[in-house]
Amino acid sequence: MSVELWTWILVGVTFALYFGIAIWARAGSTKEFYVAGGGVSPLSNGMATAADWMSAASFISMAGIISFSGYDGSVYLMGWTGGYVLLALLLAPYLRKFGKFTVPDFIGDRYYSNTARTVAVICALIVSFTYVAGQMRGVGIVFSQFLQVDIVVGVIIGMAVVLVFAFLGGMKGITYTQVVQYCVLIFAFMVPAIFISFQMTGNPIPQMGMGGSTSDGVYILDKLDALHTDLGFKEYTSGTKSTWDVFAITVALMVGTAGLPHVIVRFFTVPKVRDARKSAGLALLFIAILYTTAPAVAVFARTNMIETVSEKSYSSMPNWFKNWEETGLIAWSDKNGDGKIQYVAGNALDGKKPEFLEGRGAFGERLVANPNMAEMNELYVDRDIMVLANPEIAELPNWVIALVAAGGLAAALSTAAGLLLVISTSVSHDLIKKQIKPNISDKGELMAARISILVAVIVAGLFGIYPPGFVAAVVALAFGLAAASFFPAIILGIFDKRMNKQGAITGMVVGTSLMLFYMIRFKTGLVGVMDPLPAEDWWFGTSPEGFGTVAMVVNFVVSFVVSRLTAAPPKEVQEIVEDIRIPSGAGEAAQH
């Protein structure tokens, strides 16, 4: 059977499964809608958290980015998993004991202030929308590549699917769909990885194959380092970023992970405090399966790719090369006219993306309008294709290629759904119920939640159709924002009894503004008004991705100083803090 037929079948079957679960898990109350009724088992919650967490960026882009950046890619591996340790030790158990629906709920109650609640809502919305943009883009890429439809059509199909299971089931529907999505995505990621590891090193376990040797007896990592040096790249295992920047980015990602509202909210769905601790551990275990495989995939894919293309003639290229050229994710311009592909260090193009001309070159290649003639390098490869094209590069059977498509969709959809839920909860619960219309009925609130999901899906879809840059780069910035906004307020709320509302609010406002300012100044610019400044102007050599660490420290310091200069929080608030510190005893675990 052809790849396309396989893809339609596998995607069709998995989507039918998601719909079935959504209908089975229809939510009848706001408690079911927001926190799945609070009765999810730690195992299911662990899987759901893992799927919620592992986005299109983890599945599609991460191995690709590591593949192109080598050691520098470690920031994602350590950052995104290390944050779980913070979550499990510093946040999950206490937030579960506190026992409300959302992060702004905690902030609003702990800091006895609707201003604090509103600031938290705004932070949650900024973080979630930044992040969801990347997911919708991921859906579009997968659809357009594997089902041969336009990216816009792909995004619209994705929107429709997310809408059905989020709209009907709320958190309950999302949780159980995510359990299935986890299984789909991990299977889809592992099967090709195991095949390729076995092909290249004779060891079926990718984590070990990565440290193994190829058939000629050379360690694969040494071989890759040598290939890199020969072609003028930095050694794969050394990387190019400064130690300070690697450190800053890693910490920003760790803290950002712990501050992501759609992940935190998952710990409200388990019955007990001890379940919250345990499910954080299980979530990381499930995540670690993919996260320790990704760097192995990156090494195999990189070695495979260099060996396939370097100094080989274009006409001898395998089918996958030409297929991906058609979609514009690979581009080649024969700068020296020898018909062979020179893949060496340096930018092949002027600008980030290839611009194609009509017509074909001497060897049948697509003509590129913007080759960078100052550089030797002739080949442009989009980083996002490394995982998607990997099975084709390694000549795996068609069903494996189709499986990767289904897995990529599962990853993107589950994360998008989790984020959309946070957005809708922030609006319906934290804004409407808690502030605008406190006497709204449960039914009315449920309706408001569903309407806000609808609006959020449309906005997210627009982001997907008009994407703001590389999938993972955008997501990485969302972490900086989460680190700069929530994390200090939550940590201080639990560990510093003296922390008051003045301190927390000032900290969140200063941290978030600083991060946004830096992001706009050095990363995105303001369209039509201001262009981003170049890397030479970074403060202390800190990249925008790593700046979350700086903004977080500023948030902590500002909160602390302001809180000590103003009045201590009221007695009943101090009692709340003491109460959340113990799992039971001074009263039952708080009821919803």
Partner: protein, 87 residues
């Protein structure tokens, strides 16, 4: 101070001690071995891995998983010791 409060204080103090120890290990394997001391550790190798690179891309993640389960174990024991277990 009531007996309940004293007990809660003692529980919290032990909890903080566990947190400190676990987070120090957390920091040492990731930011320490994987980043700050990477170049030094890269002189040594583990099979086909340079050691610093291994910590950055594999080792720290394994340690993270273990750390959380150790924490779960310690805290369950601590809950029992102070009678804070949930039904």
């Amino acid at each position: 101070m009531s007996e309940d409060k004293t007990k809660a204080k003692a529980y919290w103090k032990e909890n903080l001690r566990y947190l400190t120890i676990l987070l120090v290990i957390w920091f040492l394997v990731s930011c320490g071995a994987g980043i700050l001391f990477k170049d030094y550790l890269n002189q040594f190798s583990l099979g086909g891995f340079k050691l610093g690179f291994w910590f950055a891309q594999q080792g720290s993640i394994y340690v993270f998983v273990i750390l959380i389960f150790v924490y779960v174990y310690l805290m369950n024991k601590l809950d029992k010791k102070y009678g804070y277990e949930e039904e």
